[in-house]
Symmetry: C2
Subunit: 146 residues, 2 copies
DNA sequence: CCTTGACCTTCCCATGATTGGAAGCCCTAT
DNA sequence: ATAGGGCTTCCAATCATGGGAAGGTCAAGG
């Protein structure tokens, strides 16, 4: 199976498959005589594993740990569970930060007439010196595009 | 005021102040005879504005719009409100995605014994082919570090 | 046999916000 | 005068991903 088919079958783009191989997340694929990467169904399964883990918000580093556990037949399920719950904790933290932002923004927007006049408590708050409603932590759970 | 003091007073690091200036988010600062950037209290206020907006998860592009409105004395508060509510919408979308992830992970972890034995429904799910609980969208509201 | 188009290869670049570091200049206090 | 800290610019790295160029390969059809 070539990389394109493996990509389609796993849901991981060919670009990303090469990247994962390069960074050591997945082992180097075999090569055809012409130098094309070849994939077995087992490797496609591993790629699907990675994809699914990414969909659940795991970092690539975390996925490496998960893959190691996956391969380790003498693993303890406790280790897997710990990783999953730690992920939950991280997600919850981010969610809380964003909910704080939402609360602040909605409070400010609620006080804003939203008409043709320039006066706006949103801008007033951003200027500072006014009352803070839900001070968000400086870690910033931003809104990154990616 | 030098850049270091402006950084301390605004909560924006000197590095970021230079970056914001370079990318045009904020106007170029004045310079002392020796070439040091100098900041007035008005400029520090603008930096605080930027910092606060970042804390609320706004993109730099969005902050540029907010700053433009801030400076525009004939602005309509409706425009500001629209930006704020659009930001709320974006945050809510991310929150929903992450909540889906949390639900899935908790469901999987709940079925995992978490003991010394290797059997684990979390890994089984990641392998694929098993029942999906809360299929997350492929846009990925990851867990990015920044 | 040769061409065409789809696929593959490697390599480089860009994203967004931020941090780190190096090399060199400036200012203040001792 | 010298030490230290702060300032300058420039360059690089982060993380996961996509875009694209330049060139090799494969299968099908003329």
């Amino acid at each position: 199976m070539n990389i394109g088919e493996a990509a389609k079958a796993s849901g991981v783009s060919a670009k990303m498959i090469r990247y994962y191989e390069q960074t050591g997340l997945i082992p180097e694929a075999g090569r055809s005589a012409a130098g094309y990467r070849t994939y077995t169904t087992t490797e496609v399964q591993m790629l699907r594993f990675v994809r699914r883990a990414r969909d659940l918000g795991f970092t690539v580093d975390r996925i490496a740990e998960l893959l190691a556990l996956w391969r380790d037949r003498s693993r303890h399920s406790a280790d897997v569970k710990r990783l999953a719950l730690s992920q939950v904790e991280g997600l919850r933290r981010k969610i809380r930060e964003m909910e704080d932002m939402v609360a602040t923004l909605e409070h400010l927007a609620h006080g804003c007439n939203g008409d043709h006049r320039p006066d706006c408590p949103i801008l007033a708050d951003l200027e500072g010196e006014t009352s803070r409603v839900a001070q968000t932590s400086p870690t910033g759970a931003g809104f990154g595009r990616h």
